[in-house]
Homo-oligomer: 143 residues x 2
């Protein structure tokens, strides 16, 4: 019954992937969540983003990002140095330890993606991606 509903399949696909991916990371003894990994990846590229900008990049909201940053900092994967020109903000830098963890996780992520997409052609992936983007676009609030 629910199987015939597209959004159920959508939810199931991403959650299946997440469970599988997280299980593989855990099994490798790496202490990081997929979401934390994503945030660190973004911060590796840009260390001058506001929480709101980070949130946009990873499609989360600012409150979630704030809590993830606090956690990542507590874990020593991220360093937050106050910015001289703005008393509210900090410069966020991935630490050595964070770097090592990212490096260790990277091949696993590639593996997970390959496994999830096994038997699906490049053309099919392109079609899929394009449809997903159209759906996301349709759901953007207008006002």
């Amino acid at each position: 019954m629910l199987n015939s509903i597209l959004f159920y399949s959508l939810d199931k696909a991403i959650r299946s992937y997440r469970r599988m991916a997280q299980a593989n990371i855990d099994r490798a003894g790496l202490a990081i969540t997929i979401d934390q990994w994503l945030v660190l990846r973004v911060l590796l590229e840009h260390d001058d983003l506001t929480q709101h900008e980070i949130a946009e990049q990873v499609f989360k909201d600012q409150a979630s990002v704030a809590r993830m940053l606090a956690l990542l900092t507590k874990r020593g994967l991220l360093s937050a140095v106050p910015l001289p020109n703005d008393g509210r903000r900090t410069k966020l830098r991935v630490t050595e330890q964070g770097q090592h963890l990212l490096d260790a996780v990277h091949p696993l992520i590639l593996n997970n993606r390959a496994r999830a997409l096994a038997g699906i052609s490049v053309e099919e992936i392109a079609v899929l991606q394009q449809l997903l983007e159209r759906i996301a676009g349709n759901c953007v609030p207008t006002d």
Copy 2:
């Protein structure tokens, strides 16, 4: 950068849909979450499922379902009557109030789906669904 990753698009599509759908339900003044709605819908069809079976239906885990059932019961949308033949379980029935809420939400859900899928043909939806199911299938744990 992240935009080129399929799983990011996947995550974004379902989260965009959920935000839009929940916002519409909230705006209508209906006090229910999409997840709660889903569980109630399942219970409407079958009132003799274990928490584990419900979890399978809605693709959540038993712990999440347990908490949702407790909440739904507290809210008066669900009644839980002890089963005589099994001291652990209860018969879960959607209450009158739950029924009314489901009835009120239903047209909104149809609206939300239509909006999310605007401009996407039936054939495209079929392709999409089939690909999503293949991905979910690839992620199923083997052992």
